[in-house]
Amino acid sequence: MDKRKYVGEAIPRVEDRRLVTGTSHYVDDIRLPEMLHMVLVRSPYGHARINRIETAAAEAMPGVVAVLTGEAIRGRIKSIPCASEMEGLKVPEHPVLAVERVRYVGEPVAAVVAKDRYTAQDAADRLEVEYEPLEVVVDVERAVAPGAPVIHEELGDNVAFVLRFEGGEALKAAFERADVVIEQRLVNQRLHPVAMEPRGVVAEYWPGEDRLTVWSSTQIPHLLRTQLAMMVGMAEHRVRVIAPEVGGGFGSKLNVYGEEALVAYLARELKKPVKWVETRRENMMSTIHGRGQINDVRVAVTRDGRVLGLEVRILSDLGAYHQLLTPGIPPLTGLMLSGPYKIPAIGYEIVGVFTNAMSTDAYRGAGRPEATYVLERVMDLIARQLEMDPVEVRVKNFPQPEEFPYETATGLAYDSGDYEAALRKALEVVEYEKLRQEQAERRQRGELMGIGISSYVEICALGPSAALPAGGWESATVRVEPTGKVTVLTGASPHGQGQETSFAQLVADELGVPLEDVYVVHGDTAVVPYGIGTFGSRATAVGGTAVYEAVQMVKEKVRSFAAHLLGVDWEEVEEGVGEYRSRRDPERVVSFQEVAQAAYLAKSLPPGVTPGLEATYFFEPSNFTFPFGTHVAVVDIDPETGEVKIRRYVAVDDCGRVINPLLVEGQIHGGIVQALGQALMEEVVYDEWGQLLSGDLSSYAVPRAGDVPWMETARTETPTTVNPMGIKGVGEAGTIGATPAIVNAVVDALAPRGVRHVDMPLTPEKIWRLLQGDAKA
């Protein structure tokens, strides 16, 4: 009997039809009767005292329902939460509407509610706020220097935390023993996440039932519900959060924002539905930013390229306030500083700094792209200094497959890996030797061609609860309905990753039902058991494992009912596709549907078995997983214009077992594009007055289709030992692996002109200037 099989197949996403035909429902598509609209008045100053807010003119406008200021709602909505915990961490009050002071451009100062959005916007324009500008500090180094303006006076200075991981005697010895010490400053610039769909919130309150329903474009509906209930002072079980279709998040919606609480509060106060949808400019100003680190690196190396020790000082630009995980991101960089290498001694110091800017927080990769960038730039700097091939330096420092689980100096236990295999495969695909020959020839002719390699390991499947601020497990319910249709409830909250497809594949295989009979439900706290959400490349590795475990429990019950109906012991039941047969009497068959119906009609129950066919499982992972891979970029640079053309791009990623290769490839593609954005184009720019100069999509360069090279992807497959399916996770690998590959390629291309390092983004202007400078020298 041939068994139907979906897992491992490149099945097109079931989500795609509704997405590409525009028939999906986002927050902005929700329209409720008598719905009011909120518009926010935001600070045009980077740092200022609010002397007076004149609301009368706005309030007097026809159609305006309410005007709220920070002062007016003081104490009614709790501070925007920060979940990160750390010894000595300074956590400033973070009101949903600024009180007395504004600390970044875009900080909400007042909320206007009106019968339609136009009226609300007009009224917001009428609001008069009198500011007294204060000295601004946006540069992290200036913010920690003596005499800098203090952003939160009550906290004394702008240092939010200092986290030290001492390298101790071992590190000291490493630098003493080193033949070569290399030092370099590496800047990981601030980025806008730029999800296609900006944020949005709708809330509706039913006073009779005391029920608040909140639709929000979020990655974490359950965590948001808990936090919102606390912020607006409601019992958690009276609050329902729904994440409808979410148009991308990249970490920017892994948060609890003031607007979410404001809309919830207003709906309850006004007893009418309230809606707020972010504009793109608001999105750039007041949705979290990513990265923002200055890394001063020192590395101790032997003459033959072996790394003995690594020391990094991380200055992290946190912005003006903590959002949900703001102080928790840079420590991930510290944790990952061993990368895919055996580095016997590592020491780091992280200084988290307040600046007059929007908060930084998790952006695709969250701390790991920064670590990978440090290591991969360092590997190339070592190769350059020792005149070795960058491949050789990397291979020399990889741990061998038999050394796993490999324990790093930073205290992690890497589950499994064969780093050299992924690297060799990438070199084979790209035909490395041939490319180096070509490069040598073209260099003779003065042409600028570069090859960049990046080997990475990342930390995924977040994660053991002990290591996370709000639980690291995930939940799943698998329910076979009376008609034999299957409903899967997942606590993960996919928003583009495609788990409606991959989880259906997994469950369809396990139960032997057609794919279209499995419906995956997520993102509604009234329907789905408590879950953690989608971030940290965890949805499949952790959420998928919960689904897998739940479906095993259901299968057991299905077998009991099948055996009961067939009148045999369950050992004597032979499983077919969608049917069960008695081994003793192959003529006796019951269908999956018949079993399902019997379980619900419950006319006759197997001994000790309860009615219904449903199981819920909460999976707690024992460790993180550590996917890895190697990316290779080949670039040509136009010496006339400084423009970088990515000629070849090869990505070999190992994310463990794969449920749907199409989804894996999609994640890699998207990640590479975002990494390319950071490497070549993107940068959040504040001027010295704290004005956001990259505040819209005409001044912030996100890659477009034409900027994206053809991407050649391949895989190696090393299953993890952390979960039964061997899945590691792949959501962020692209942004982690690709950025340094591209930068290394560009620096390699510029090497004959004496360039040793350039900070991102590598814009044509920056490269052109370098080339001009070189010509003059």
């Binding site: 045009p44 980077g46 750039m284 007055w689 004005q691 100069l693 505040g695 005409s698 001044s699």
Partner: protein, 181 residues
């Protein structure tokens, strides 16, 4: 952001100065001005309609004018706010006699805040230069009108400006300058 430039008006320095302190003239000559009221003590309240790149809006603001050296140096402070953000600026005008007339040198620092910053900042320099050009071109037209009135004994006919007219005059003066008339 720093802005600077110079412009020549064919008129005596004293005449130019008088034009510069006449609120009616300022109202007529400043591009985009809808209202301009003298509030005494060298302060004016203005309502302007301005467009910088893609960001356009109505700005309400205050201008403070302080004659540092009468007929030679005038200090200016501008503050405006509109739906697209804030504009603040500080600067000085210096008047110098030249063979043909009066050369006006201006320099200052302008700060844009709020949404306008991201779009406006990059175009500020060129926009400011264009607006200043339009202003001084209009001022020259005012001076010419006065001279005409004086020469003919006819009552003064204030010239009409408007953004478009000033722009044409400005471009014309540029052409004349480039092609040496």
């Amino acid at each position: 952001m720093k802005i600077a430039g110079k412009h020549t008006v064919i008129a005596e320095r004293r005449e130019v100065w008088q034009l510069l302190v006449d609120p009616e003239v300022l109202r007529r000559c400043t591009p985009g001005v809808e209202e301009l009221r003298a509030a005494g003590d060298g302060r004016y309240e203005v309502v302007m309609r301005l467009g910088v790149g893609a960001v356009q809006g109505r700005y309400e603001g205050r201008i403070r004018v302080e004659p540092e050296v009468p007929e030679v140096v005038m200090k200016l402070e501008v503050e405006g706010r509109g739906p697209q953000g804030i504009v603040r600026g500080k600067g000085a005008l210096r008047l110098e006699e030249e063979n043909e007339g009066t050369e006006i040198t201006y320099e200052g620092e302008v700060q844009l805040g709020g949404p306008i910053a991201s779009v406006g900042q990059r175009m500020l320099q060129s926009t400011a230069r264009m607006l200043a050009g339009q202003f001084f071109t209009a001022l020259a037209a005012e001076a010419a009108a006065r001279q005409r009135a004086q020469a003919t004994g006819q009552p003064l006919q204030p010239p009409k400006h408007g953004i478009f007219r000033n722009l044409v005059r400005f471009l014309w003066s540029l052409l004349k300058r480039w092609f040496g008339r």
